[in-house]
C-alpha cells in the first residue's frame, strides 16, 4: 500500500494505492488524512482509469508533416535543443517561452522556473495559475503581505458560526470538503452562498444571494456600507490591527443599500440580514473562489471582501476570516516557487535585488544573469509568433482553458516551434512539433502544497510505463544539451532540498519542511523556517506580514467593467466546473466513468429564457460572443438567473467565447462574465454532435 494524494484538485485528498505485479489495483480514500477523512469524489475514485489508459503517451512524438510520429528520446531532445539554440540566436533569449501549470509538483514548478531563468535565460515564463488564483493572490498580498489560500486548516470551516461562500461551489468541485461545511451546519452554523446559480452548495446553505455576474464588488462594498451605518464595525480591531480604514469608509458611502440592490439584484433585506449575521457571529468566515475572482476587477473584488472581513474584526481570529478556496492540485505550491513571470522561489519578487541575490546564490549563478520579470499568462500567449517564437508547454492545455481560446489557438499555430509535455495528447499537444510523454501521480515522488498551505508528499506506487520520463529528467536532458546540465538534478528529493534553501527567508518559507519530517507523519504548513519549527497552521493571530504588522484596507470601487450586454449580445455568459470533470478535461474526458456521467457540455438556461427563444430542453444552440461562437446543447433549469447562461468549461470551444480582458493588477482574464447571444441551431438534429473545437 502506498499513501499518497489524489491527482486532481487543491484538496489533495489522501488516498491509498494497492499494487500488485507492478500495477495499481485499487485506490481508496485514506481515513487518516485530515482533509478528506477517507472521503473521495467521483473524479478521485476513478483516477486509476488514467494510469493504464490506452491513450497514454509512451514515446516522444515528432511532427513530420501533418503527423506526429514516435521517435526515440535522443532524437526528440536533440531536435528541441537545436530549435532553442536556433530561435535564441536569431531572436534573443526571451523568444523561447515557458508555460507551466498549477498541477505540477513543487519540485517541477520550481525547476521549470529555474530552467527558464538559468538554462534559457528567458523572461518569458508564466503558467495557468494566472487564470485561477492570481486575483486572490494579488489581493491577499496587497492586504496581508502574504498569500496563502486558507490561512487556517480546512477543518476550521466547521468552527465558523456564520460562513459566507462567494462564487464557490465545493459540493460539485471538491465534494469531500463538504464534510466540514456539513459539520458546521450540524453545530448550528448559518451558511450563506453568493452565486448566480442555485448550486448544490447553495441548496445546502441557509441563504442564497443570486447576484448579476460581475457585481460581487458592489455587493461586498454594500455589505460594508451597512456594517458602518449600523455600527457593526469592530473599531478596536480596526484601530490596532489595520491601516487605511478611513478612505474605505469614505469610498463605500457611495454603495448605499438601494443602489447595491439595483446593481446586484440582491434585495436590501438580504444584504442587511447577511451582514448582521456575519457581524453578530462569534466566529465568521468569508470564503471566495473563482466566481468572485475571475473578473477584470477580480483583485479589487477580493479586496472588497477582505475589507469586510477586516472591518468586522475577523481576520486572524479563531474560526474566522477571509480565505480563498484554491482550485488546482498544486495551485498553492505552484504559485510560490518561480513559475510566475515576476517571481522567484519562496514567493520572492524577481524584481527585488535582495531576492535575486539570495536565489542566484543558491543556484550558483550571477544575479545579473537572471532575467527581469516577463509578461503574464494571457499576454505571453498573445505574444506567440511575434515576441515569442518557441514555446515549452507543460501541464496545461491553453487552447481549451485560456480565454479567447480561438485567438490563442491562432497564436500557437503561428509559433516556429511548440513543445508540449503531457501524459495524454491534449488538444494543445496535437498542435505540437515535439511531444514529451511524462509521468502521472502514482509514478513519481515529490511534494504538493494544498489549499491550506499544508505541504504533502506525493509517493510513487508503480514504475512509469516504459518510454515515459518525468519533467525533471526532460529538463535536465535539455539543459545538458544547452551546456547547463549541472544546474538541473533529476532526483525530486535533491530538487526539493534546493527549493528549501531557495525559499529560506522568503514569505513562503519551506526551509524546515523536510521529506523526512513529512514522511514521519508531521503535519506541516508553511512558513516553517527551520527543522525545529512546528510550521504555521494559522496565520495572522498576532501580526500580518507587512513590515508594520498591520493589515491594509484598500479602497476599491465598482466600475462596472463587465462586458456590456446590448441588443446583439443580450445575455450574460458565465462558466465554471461541473461535477464529473476537471479543468480542460484532458484527464476526465478520457475516464470512461466520468465521460459517461457527463458526455458533453450542457449549457444551463432558465426555462423562461428558453421559452422566450423558442427552445426546449436538449436543443442544440449556438452561443455567440464578440469573439466566437460555439454550439452546445441546453439543459433547462430554474437554478440559473433568467439573463445568464452557464456553460462548464471542460470542453474545447467553450473558452473561445470568454473574454480576455485582464485585471490590471493580477492580469486575471474576465472568464466569469461576458455578453452572449443565444440562437437555435437549425434542424436536422438527428446525429449527436460533439462540441466543435
Amino acid at each position: 500500500m502506498t499513501a499518497t494524494h489524489c491527482p486532481y484538485c487543491s484538496l489533495q485528498c489522501g488516498i491509498e494505492l494497492e499494487t500488485r505485479a507492478g500495477a495499481v489495483t485499487a485506490l481508496t480514500g485514506l481515513e487518516s488524512f485530515p482533509t478528506n477523512r477517507g472521503g473521495l469524489c467521483r473524479k478521485g475514485s476513478t483516477a486509476l482509469e488514467l494510469l493504464a489508459h490506452p491513450e497514454r503517451l509512451t514515446s516522444p512524438l515528432l511532427r513530420v508533416g501533418d503527423e506526429l510520429v514516435p521517435v526515440d528520446w535522443d532524437t526528440a531532445l536533440d531536435r528541441v535543443a537545436a530549435e532553442i539554440r536556433r530561435v535564441q540566436e536569431r531572436y534573443g533569449p526571451d523568444a523561447v517561452g515557458c508555460f507551466g501549470g498549477g498541477g505540477l509538483t513543487n519540485e517541477k514548478a520550481y525547476q521549470f522556473g529555474k530552467f527558464a531563468r538559468v538554462a534559457l535565460r528567458s523572461a518569458s515564463i508564466d503558467y495557468n495559475g494566472r487564470f485561477c488564483m492570481s486575483s486572490a493572490a494579488a489581493a491577499a498580498t496587497r492586504s496581508f503581505g502574504i498569500d496563502r489560500g486558507l490561512p487556517f486548516p480546512l477543518p476550521d470551516i466547521a468552527e465558523a458560526d456564520v460562513l459566507l461562500l462567494v462564487g464557490s461551489n465545493p459540493a460539485d468541485t471538491m465534494p469531500p470538503a463538504m464534510r466540514w461545511f456539513e459539520a458546521g451546519r450540524e453545530r448550528g452554523a448559518e451558511h450563506i452562498v453568493v452565486d448566480p446559480r442555485y448550486t448544490a452548495t447553495a441548496a445546502a446553505a441557509h441563504r442564497h444571494l443570486q447576484p448579476v455576474p460581475g457585481t460581487d464588488l458592489a455587493l461586498a462594498n454594500g455589505l460594508l456600507h451597512i456594517a458602518i451605518a449600523d455600527g457593526l464595525v469592530d473599531e478596536e480591531y480596526v484601530r490596532t490591527r489595520t491601516t487605511g480604514f478611513d478612505e474605505v469608509r469614505r469610498a463605500v458611502r457611495a454603495d448605499w443599500p438601494d443602489r447595491v440592490e439595483r446593481t446586484t439584484g440582491v434585495p436590501v433585506a438580504a444584504l442587511r440580514a447577511t451582514v448582521h449575521a456575519l457581524a453578530s457571529a462569534g466566529q465568521a468566515m468569508i470564503l471566495t473562489a473563482r466566481g468572485a475572482e475571475q473578473h477584470a476587477d477580480g483583485t479589487d473584488t477580493v479586496t472588497a471582501w477582505i475589507n469586510l472581513a477586516l472591518a468586522l474584526g475577523l481576520q486572524g481570529r479563531p474560526g474566522s476570516g477571509w480565505a480563498t478556496v484554491t482550485g488546482q492540485g498544486n495551485g498553492q505550491g505552484g504559485r510560490e516557487h518561480g513559475q510566475k513571470a515576476d517571481q522567484l522561489p519562496g514567493y520572492r519578487k524577481l524584481a527585488d535585488p535582495a531576492a535575486r541575490a539570495h536565489v542566484a546564490g543558491v543556484w550558483g549563478v550571477d544575479p545579473d544573469s537572471l532575467p527581469q520579470p516577463g509578461v503574464s499568462a494571457y499576454e505571453l500567449l498573445d505574444s506567440l509568433g511575434t515576441d515569442v517564437k518557441m514555446l515549452l508547454l507543460g501541464a496545461s492545455n491553453p487552447v481549451v482553458s485560456a480565454p479567447n481560446a480561438a485567438h490563442v489557438r491562432r497564436r500557437m499555430e503561428s509559433l516556429d516551434f511548440l513543445v508540449v509535455t503531457d501524459f495524454f495528447l491534449s488538444e494543445s499537444a496535437r498542435m505540437a512539433d515535439v511531444v514529451f510523454p511524462t509521468t502521472q501521480f502514482a509514478e513519481e515522488e515529490g511534494t504538493l502544497t494544498n489549499l491550506e498551505g499544508r505541504v504533502l508528499r506525493r509517493r510513487k506506487a508503480v514504475e512509469p510505463p516504459a518510454g515515459v520520463r518525468s519533467e525533471l529528467e526532460i529538463w535536465h536532458a535539455l539543459a545538458a544539451r544547452l551546456g547547463r546540465g549541472e544546474f538541473f538534478p533529476t532526483e525530486p528529493r535533491e530538487v526539493y532540498d534546493e527549493l528549501r534553501r531557495a525559499s529560506a527567508g522568503g514569505p513562503a518559507d519551506y526551509a524546515g519542511i523536510s521529506w523526512e519530517r513529512l514522511d514521519a507523519g508531521e503535519e506541516l504548513f508553511w512558513p516553517c523556517p527551520s527543522d525545529d519549527h512546528p510550521g504555521t497552521p494559522r496565520l495572522f493571530a498576532e501580526l500580518f506580514a507587512h513590515p508594520d504588522g498591520k493589515a491594509r484596507f484598500m479602497a476599491v470601487t465598482p466600475r462596472g467593467v463587465t462586458e456590456r450586454t446590448d441588443v446583439t449580445y443580450p445575455f450574460l455568459l458565465t462558466t465554471g466546473r461541473s461535477r464529473a470533470h476537471y479543468q480542460s478535461g484532458t484527464q476526465t474526458r478520457r475516464s470512461p466513468t466520468l465521460a459517461a456521467a457527463e458526455p458533453e457540455a450542457l449549457a444551463e438556461v432558465h426555462p423562461d429564457l428558453a421559452r422566450l427563444l423558442g427552445l426546449t430542453d436538449g436543443d442544440l444552440v449556438r452561443l455567440t460572443t464578440r469573439r466566437a461562437s460555439a454550439e452546445v446543447r441546453i439543459r433547462c433549469t430554474r437554478t440559473i438567473r433568467r439573463d445568464t447562461v452557464f456553460v462548464p468549461f471542460h470542453w474545447p470551444g467553450v473558452n473561445d467565447l470568454t473574454s480576455a480582458r485582464l485585471d490590471p493588477t493580477s492580469r486575471m482574464p474576465e472568464f466569469k462574465a461576458c455578453a452572449v447571444a443565444v440562437s437555435r441551431v437549425p434542424a436536422p438534429l438527428s446525429t449527436p454532435q460533439e462540441v466543435p473545437a
Binding site: 465534494p175 441548496a203 451605518a229 434585495p267 432558465h606 439573463d643
Partner: protein, 489 residues
C-alpha cells in the same frame, strides 16, 4: 502643461464627475478645479431625508473637504460662479476670481420651486421665519433646529420629497399636514389606486394628515409662521411650512452664456452642450433627448459617460431607466417605468390588498416588464427591478412575478423518485442501489452509506438517503414496491 478642467457645481453630479475622471487617470491630463455654492464637500443628497428623520449625519459626505486636497483637486467651497466667458474660456466667481478652462462642466443642479403664495417672503430673497425648502444640508439642519420647539407643520406638496419631509418631521414629534394640489399622492409615480393605498398607510401608520385636492393660498404669520390658508377657504394651524412643490433646474449660467436652454441646458449624447463642445452639462440642469433627470442613478450614469468622454474614451449616453423609491421606514413604495398600460396590447398584472397596505401593479409589453408599482411589498422589488432594468425574460405564469413560490415544484418524496435516479452523484449511487442495500440487511442510513458509499463525497444527499432508507424499510410499501418498480423499470 495640463489642461484645465473646471467643474461648476459640487453636488452629486459634479462630485461624481470628478471621481470618475480621477478613476480614469484624468489627473494626468487635467488640473481640476471645482466650484461649489455650498460650503461643504460633496454630500449624499438622498441621505437628507434620513438626516431629517434623525439618523447620524457623519456618513453623509461622499467627498469630505480634505478629500479634495488629498486628490489634487482645487475646491472653492461656498463660491458661486456668476459668469462664463465662452470666447476667452473663463469662468468668473462671486469672490472675484477668474479661472480659465479647456473643458467646463456645468453641474449646477436645481433649486426648490416656491409656488406663489401670499405672505411667504419677507423680501425678494428671504423667506418668512418658519418656511423652508428641503433641498440642502443647510435646509435640513435648519428644519431640525426649528422643529425642536414646534408642534405642527404643513408640507406643501405630496410628492416623494414632501412625504419624506413629512415623515422626518413626524419623527420629531410634530403634527404634520400634507397638502397636495392633485387628487393622488406621489402623482408623478402612482396611479390613483396605488396612491389611495399609500395614503391609507401614511395616515394610519405614520399619522400624517393628508389634504388632497387643496392648494395653499397664503402663509399666515405673526413674525413667524402660524398657519396656512387654503384655496377655497379653511386654514391649517401650523408653526412651520416645508415647501416641496417641485424643483427648477439652475440654468441661469447657461442662459446668460447663450447655450440652448429648454427645460434645462440641452446636451448631446456625449453630455456636451449642443452649442459649445468645450462645455458639458450633467445632472438636473441637463436636458438629454428631452428628458431632465432628478434621480441619482441617471446622474451617475451621465457622469460616467462624461468622464469617459473627457478622458478620451468613446462613450455615449442613451438615457436611463428610472426607479424611484420612497425612503420612509415601514412605508415601502417603489415605482419604475410606466404607471399603467398605454395601449390595448399592454398587459396589466395587479394585486391589491388595501387593508394590509399592499398594492402591486405591473405593466408588460412584448413580454418585457415596462412598468411596476409596488406599495407595501419589499420582497419582489429587487427581482422586478432586475426584470425592468435588464429586460429579463418573464415567467409565462405572471403570478410568479408577484409570488415567486408560485413556480416552485413541490419537494420530491422518496416514493416518487425513479429507481434509476442518482441519489449520490459523487459516488454514482442510485435509489435502486440504496433499496438493494436495505434489502440486503443494512438497516440504518449509516449502514447503507457504508455499504454503497453514498454520502461519502459531498454529503449533500445524506438526508435524501435517510428518507429513502426509511421509506424502503417500511414494510407496507417498502422494498417490495421498490423491487416491483425496479423490475418494471
Amino acid at each position: 502643461m495640463k489642461e484645465q478642467l473646471v467643474v461648476v457645481g459640487n453636488g452629486m453630479a459634479g462630485g461624481r464627475v470628478v471621481e470618475e475622471v480621477l478613476a480614469r487617470g484624468g489627473a494626468d491630463r487635467y488640473d481640476i478645479t471645482v466650484f461649489g455654492a455650498e460650503p461643504y464637500g460633496n454630500y449624499n443628497r438622498i441621505m437628507l431625508s434620513h438626516v431629517l428623520a434623525g439618523e447620524d449625519v457623519s456618513e453623509i459626505y461622499l467627498n469630505p473637504l480634505d478629500w479634495y486636497a488629498a486628490s489634487g483637486v482645487a475646491l472653492h467651497a461656498g463660491v458661486r460662479v456668476v459668469r462664463i466667458d465662452r470666447s476667452s474660456q473663463k469662468v468668473f466667481a462671486d469672490d472675484g476670481q477668474a479661472v480659465a478652462y479647456d473643458a467646463l462642466v456645468l453641474a449646477t443642479g436645481s433649486r426648490t420651486f416656491f409656488p406663489p403664495m401670499d405672505g411667504m417672503w419677507l423680501d425678494d430673497r428671504t423667506l418668512i421665519p418658519g418656511v423652508f425648502g428641503f433641498r440642502t444640508l443647510d435646509d435640513t439642519v435648519a428644519m431640525i433646529d426649528y422643529a425642536r420647539e414646534r408642534s405642527s407643520a404643513v408640507v406643501v406638496g405630496g410628492g416623494l420629497l414632501g412625504l419624506e419631509a413629512a415623515y422626518g418631521l413626524r419623527q420629531h414629534g410634530l403634527d404634520v399636514h400634507v397638502v397636495q394640489g392633485g387628487p393622488v399622492l406621489m402623482s408623478q409615480q402612482l396611479d390613483s389606486p396605488a396612491g389611495a393605498v399609500l395614503r391609507g398607510v401614511l395616515e394610519k401608520k405614520v399619522g400624517l394628515h393628508v389634504h388632497t385636492g387643496r392648494r395653499p393660498a397664503a402663509i399666515r404669520s405673526t413674525g413667524s409662521v402660524t398657519g396656512v390658508l387654503l384655496d377655497g377657504g379653511g386654514t391649517i394651524d401650523a408653526e412651520m411650512v416645508v415647501v416641496t412643490a417641485g424643483v427648477r433646474p439652475n440654468v441661469g449660467l447657461g442662459v446668460a452664456s447663450g447655450l440652448t436652454v429648454e427645460r434645462a441646458i440641452v446636451v448631446d449624447d456625449r453630455m456636451r452642450s449642443v452649442d459649445d463642445p468645450a462645455i458639458s452639462v450633467v445632472g438636473e440642469c441637463a436636458q438629454h433627448r428631452g428628458e431632465v433627470y432628478g434621480l441619482v442613478a441617471p446622474l451617475w450614469e451621465q457622469a460616467a459617460v462624461l468622464a469617459d468622454v473627457l478622458t478620451g474614451a468613446d462613450a455615449i449616453y442613451t438615457g436611463s431607466r428610472t426607479v424611484t423609491k420612497l425612503k420612509v421606514a415601514g412605508v415601502d413604495v417603489t415605482q419604475m417605468g410606466l404607471r399603467g398600460p398605454e395601449s390595448e396590447d399592454d398587459e396589466l398584472v395587479q394585486y391589491s390588498e388595501p387593508r394590509r397596505g399592499v398594492h402591486t401593479s405591473l405593466v408588460i409589453r412584448d413580454d418585457m416588464l415596462v412598468g411596476a408599482t409596488l406599495v407595501g411589498d419589499t420582497t419582489q422589488v429587487a427581482a422586478l427591478t432586475q426584470a425592468f432594468d435588464r429586460r429579463l425574460p418573464l415567467p409565462e405564469n405572471r403570478a410568479e412575478l408577484l409570488f415567486p413560490q408560485a413556480g416552485q415544484p413541490a419537494a420530491v418524496s422518496a416514493a416518487d423518485l425513479d429507481p434509476s435516479t442518482q441519489v449520490c452523484t459523487c459516488s454514482g449511487v442510485t435509489k435502486e442501489a440504496i433499496c438493494d442495500a436495505v434489502a440486503a440487511g443494512a438497516g440504518t442510513a449509516a449502514g447503507v452509506m457504508d455499504a454503497t458509499r453514498a454520502g461519502k463525497g459531498c454529503g449533500s444527499c445524506k438526508s435524501l438517503v435517510a428518507r429513502i432508507v426509511e421509506w424502503a424499510g417500511t414494510p407496507a410499501e417498502g422494498c417490495a414496491r421498490c423491487d416491483l418498480v425496479a423490475v418494471g423499470g
